[in-house]
């Protein structure tokens, strides 16, 4: 029971003090889970993170659930998850109540008029950085361009685009595997 409570507190702190999304909290989780509490050895922790990063869903929640489950079973998973999301829920609820009350004030409106174009930039920048890190070539550039046109111009649901992309990359992976089997000496690079 003590461990379950400690899991809750640990992830509560992480949820309350990490600014800047899931990846920013990673070093804090490592410090707490690996260095301080010795719940999971470092190599196992990083192996696990590599896989969790590729899973869908909220990264922080997936990490909390997995660490909690490893340390104290189902109760541990529930405690860690609640700890991770509780600060968000409380802070946003308070903020939303206040913001919806005062958003029509001229001062608030002026500030947000400045903020909105900045938000657009903060969304465009990481998407381009992602294209760079995914090593998109002139040939594969068709994929992000098609996604943009479908969603922005044709108003196709992004969910459909993701499903199509999943199907596409699975088919691609299967074809590549077959080529590799037929021609094992030649390494196929995607």
């Amino acid at each position: 029971m003590k461990t379950v409570f400690q899991l809750f507190i640990t992830f509560l702190k992480i949820g309350a003090f990490t600014l800047g999304g899931g990846y920013a909290m990673l070093s804090m989780v490592e410090k707490a889970v690996v260095d301080k509490k010795h719940w999971i050895p470092a190599d196992a922790f990083w192996d696990m993170i590599a896989i969790i990063q590729s899973l869908p869903g909220v990264f922080a929640v997936n990490t909390a659930l997995y660490v909690g489950h490893q340390v104290a079973g189902r109760k541990g998973a529930a405690a860690a998850m609640l700890g991770a999301i509780l600060p968000s829920i409380v802070i946003i609820l308070l903020l939303a109540t206040v913001f919806r009350e005062y958003r029509d004030l001229p001062v608030v409106e002026r500030i947000f008029k400045g903020i909105r174009p900045c938000v657009v930039a903060l969304i465009l920048a990481p998407s381009l950085r992602m294209i760079k890190s995914a090593k998109v070539t002139w040939k594969t550039a068709i994929i992000p361009i098609a996604a943009v046109i479908l969603i922005w111009w044709c108003k196709v649901s992004p969910a459909i685009v993701i499903l199509a992309a999943i199907a596409g990359s699975l088919i691609y992976a299967i074809i590549m595997e077959r080529k590799l089997k037929r021609n094992p000496s030649k390494e196929v690079k995607p």
Binding site: G20, V119, L122, I123, M130, A134, A159, L170
Partner: protein, 179 residues
Amino acid sequence: MIYLQLLWVFIKIGVLGFGGGYAMLSLIQHEVVDHYAWMTTTEFADMVALSQMTPGPISINMATYVGYTAGGFGGSLLASFALCLPSIVMVYFIIRLFLNKKGGSLMNNLLKGLKPAIAGLIFAAGLAMMNAQNFVQIGKGENNISIVICVLAFVASYFFKANPILLIVLSGVVGFFVY
């Protein structure tokens, strides 16, 4: 009815949300602004700014905010919980299948294949917000300020990896003095 809609929307986002909070942003935008019209595009932009500036996972912040706007206190709890639900199922039933080398490399390859599409998704979300509601009075004299803010913030973020919270605060200050 609104509760069922919130539940369905955020479970879907939890299942398909590959690639972090920004990828989910595009899914949330489509459902919340285009499909159900729970928010206007300006409210959506404001929500993204607030979610970015407050601690905790950005997607949980957005789920709470959307839930609150659409269905009050109950809606906010429901939306956040619905977003976590697929993860809970995954951890109990599926994660064991993937937490070995083979499953792990399969998921990593899948994400690699998805990345270009996800990048397009996020870019489209940004484009959809570049409109007359968020960029004040484009074309009239004072205005091109919106564009200047956007371009400067983009350069600072893309080339210099500037802290997003700092950029939001600075543009708020600019807005306060300019408008």
